[in-house]
Amino acid sequence: MSTHTETKAHSAEQEPIDVHDPRLTNWDVLREGARRDDIEIVHYEPPFPVPGTKAERRLVRVVAGFFLITGLAATAFLAVYIWWPWEHEAGNGADKFYTPLLGLTLGIALLGIGFGILTWGKKLIPHEVAIQGRHDGGSPADDRKITGSTLTYMVDELGVKRRPLLGISLLAGLAPVAAVAAAPLVGGLIKNPHTNNQMFTTGWAPVEEGGTTHLIRLTHSDGTPIRPEDVSVGGQITVFPGIPGGATNKHADSPTLLIHLRADDAQLAAENNAREDKADYMWGNYIAYSKICTHAGCPASLYEQQTNRLLCPCHQSQFLITDNAQPIFGPASRRLPQLPISVDEEGFFVATSDFKETVGPDFWERP
């Protein structure tokens, strides 16, 4: 690193000593070395000048004790690791102590070394106060001048000023090379978000097949379709589009909440629906809203059946079910999209069309 820049510095007041002088002790040489690094050891105090005192022996025992604790704990760790029943079982058996015991033994072992070393360092090694010069604030003026001139001269040597075409052509050549490095990365990663209009469609879009349009059924997560009598009054159920993989994360924007409102709430909801041109969106007292919050995409599914609110647990946006799932509190700015539903001739719920509003969190080009 940087430190040898200081070696030149030398304590002015001290005569340099010959480090090869055989009469010098290691300490003398060390101290001379420190001086060459511009360090003055102004205070040096061995904690136990007289060897073998009671206090010293006690400290040595403490340090040794720490190290022995480490040995014991590490051995215990190995024993636990090998012999303790570790395979997970239901209930509150011995296996639940496996991880805590490993942590305890490992922790004690490591703390033992730590405290042992620290006690050794703090109490048994001589205390010292050393002062080292700092010498910051830029390089010597000469060096600045020399480096600056060298760099300037280098530029002149290259002769770009004399032969400008070289510089220009080099730049012209290098710029595309940089683009070449970036192109595969950008080109490989980039994906059009509007492929198949995917930001505006969900699994609920009716399927065209041989000239006829199939409406998508509302299903449980296992794919079984849902009848009106499957949802109790004041109940709600998470429904998925009845298409292959409809309940998987492939259709992460499709989960929908089907709610069976009580008669008077349903009437209110229908009135508010009609006001927003959604007169036929409900079926009977049943109403269906996208479960994906329009704020950040969490499932806004905490249904309060008395206050008719939907709460999102991520950022606490609250939506009023009886009023087109209008946001009434929190950071959401847009109501939950409503799924128009009906019941087909077999008596199962179907979506009469895809969501008319964009599902999920907002983005720039949402109309």
Partner: protein
């Protein structure tokens, strides 16, 4: 056998050293390294906690990579944890469960990795506060301050990508929010999101990409930044507190070897040990309770890890203000954009520029190697308190549903308290801190002028009672001290007199015994040399 005996064992290390130096020429730089002086103060160890926990996280993380599979392909779980057996889930989640239940000792490694990461971020923040409040970021250390604040954000990314890897119900929700945050960026949002996720959320590739970012790209960047950070500390030498003998042009402390290095080694073991205890005794992120991520599944009280919580809080407090741009079909800037993209942008830029702003305000172009006590710079300390208040309100709001539930407060009231608190508390914090700083300054000056209270009450001839004050130095004709404030602790109790630091020995309980040779760095014993000679002679 005879030949072998000729080898002088005692001379071996020296000979080997000579051979090495012949080839590598290390003696000179090694001497400088061994001799380098470091100042000693407990607050200088906070950054070390971050460094050491980073090492632990690297070690445990390597272990985890042997067993984790960053794949979103679906498997049916057939491991030891019965409540999830037979469930369809991604390979990423299944292998995380395997690490927890079917790899011997895997759970403690996972937990140590997670605790280590939380500790890494916590110590970065605490270290950053220390550097800020003591003015250690001033010239010539602005660059290192910038690297440090970037380290927070890179650590943030490392944490978030790692938190997402298990693909459990909680982290999947977090990932969904992350995708919504990217979506909210004006103009490029949808393109950015679909490019990162390889299509519509969640896609098939995100775990692989997050994995390589989490185990290679981000740690590489962290390693590079940490090396630069330490390299600069080394090159520029550590700052120090003012005090006897300490000037702007020197470093007073201990040489790197042996004592300082030994303390560092011991502290590393302590950090490692604390992480091991946390990892073994405190359960963290029990992914088996959360189940696999499904788009329709969520839990009450969904939170990110603590260092992301301030952004979650800002998102919760943000009113639903949507900006609609009526051009063509119309364009939208969603409310999510401001607290999660714009705010972090500001929070990154402000600290980066702060050293230059402060230097400009104070017209200060000098080098500063001595730290300032927070009380001596009330303006900066107040600003710091303001920032802390702002951050705390946001972080608490990130957990406001848990607070609301456990302390029986209305959730809506918590949100409103956060909104109002975010505006009101920072200025209040500034004002109060400023006044406290002035008060402390005042008291320091008072003690310097009048001396330390002795507790001795004297009755004056006219019947009044006064307390006797012990002056700290020489006094003028009015009995007022002539000492200048030196930017360092002013002793305010009798038993602190004559001590640079605490004069009472012992950490928890004072060890009441006379000090054999009073030691003070400012006043080195005159006979130090002879003492040392005796010792070295005995070696």
């Amino acid at each position: 056998m005879k030949r072998r005996k000729k080898i002088d064992v005692a001379a071996l290390p020296g000979k080997a050293g000579g051979e090495v130096d012949d080839r590598l020429q290390v003696a000179t730089p090694l001497r400088a390294l061994l001799n380098k002086v470091f100042p000693d103060h407990w607050s200088f160890l906070l950054g070390e906690i971050a460094l050491f926990s980073f090492v632990v996280v690297l070690l445990t993380g390597v272990f985890l990579t042997f067993f984790y599979d960053p794949s979103l392909s679906h498997v049916v779980y057939d491991g030891s944890y019965a409540p999830l057996r037979g469930q369809s889930m991604t390979a990423a989640y299944a292998t995380t469960l395997d690490i927890s239940f079917d790899v011997r000792g895997g759970l403690i490694m996972r937990q140590m990795h997670h605790w280590g990461a939380l500790l890494f971020m916590a110590s970065i923040v605490v270290h950053m506060l220390r550097v800020f409040f003591t003015g250690a970021f001033r010239k010539p250390r602005e660059l290192n301050w910038i690297i440090g604040s970037l380290l927070f954000w890179v650590g943030f990314l490392a944490g978030f990508t790692g938190y997402s890897l298990p693909d459990d119900g909680l982290s999947g929700t977090g990932l969904r929010i992350a995708s919504a945050i990217m979506l909210s960026i004006p103009v490029v949002g949808s393109w950015l999101t679909s490019s990162i996720f390889g299509g519509e959320f969640p896609g098939e590739v995100i775990m692989g990409r997050f994995f390589i970012a989490h185990v290679l790209l981000i740690p590489g960047l962290l390693l590079a930044l940490i090396s630069a950070h330490l390299g600069l500390v080394f090159k520029q030498k550590h700052t120090q507190w003012p005090g006897p003998g300490r000037t702007n042009d020197n470093v007073v402390g201990e040489r790197m070897f042996p004592r300082y290095a030994i303390k560092q080694g011991g502290f590393f073991m302590i950090v490692f040990g604390v992480i091991a205890l946390l990892g073994g005794l405190f359960q963290i992120n029990p992914v088996w309770l959360f189940g696999p991520y499904e788009a329709a599944v969520v839990s009450a009280a969904s939170q990110p890890d603590w260092y992301v919580m301030f952004l979650d809080g800002s998102t919760r407090l943000m009113p639903g203000w949507e900006i609609h741009i009526p051009i063509g079909n119309g364009y939208v800037i969603p409310p999510l954009f401001w607290p999660t993209v714009a705010l972090p942008g500001v929070l990154t830029m402000l600290p980066i520029f702060y050293p230059f702003i402060e230097a400009r305000r104070n017209k200060d172009n000098r080098h500063h190697n001595l730290l300032q006590r927070p009380r001596d710079v009330p303006n900066r300390t107040g600003l710091g308190a303001m920032a802390i208040a702002f951050y705390l309100v946001l972080t608490l709001s990130g957990g406001n549903d848990v607070i609301a539930d456990k302390f029986h407060i209305s959730l809506n009231a918590m949100t409103w308290a956060g909104r109002i608190g975010l505006i009101l508390l920072p200025p209040i914090a500034y004002y109060i801190t400023y006044r406290i700083c002035l008060g402390l300054q005042q008291h320091d000056r008072e003690v310097l002028a009048h001396g330390v209270e002795t507790g001795i009450i004297r009755r004056l001839p006219d019947g009044r009672f006064v307390e006797v004050h012990q002056p700290l130095g020489g006094t003028d004709e009015h009995g007022h001290g002539e000492l200048e404030y030196a930017g360092w602790v002013v002793p305010k109790k009798m038993n602190r007199l004559g001590a640079l630091g605490p004069a009472i020995k012992g950490f928890f309980v004072p060890i009441e015994k006379p000090v054999e040779a009073p030691v003070s760095p400012g006043h080195p014993p005159v006979s130090a040399r002879t003492e040392e000679k005796e010792i070295s002679g005995k070696r």
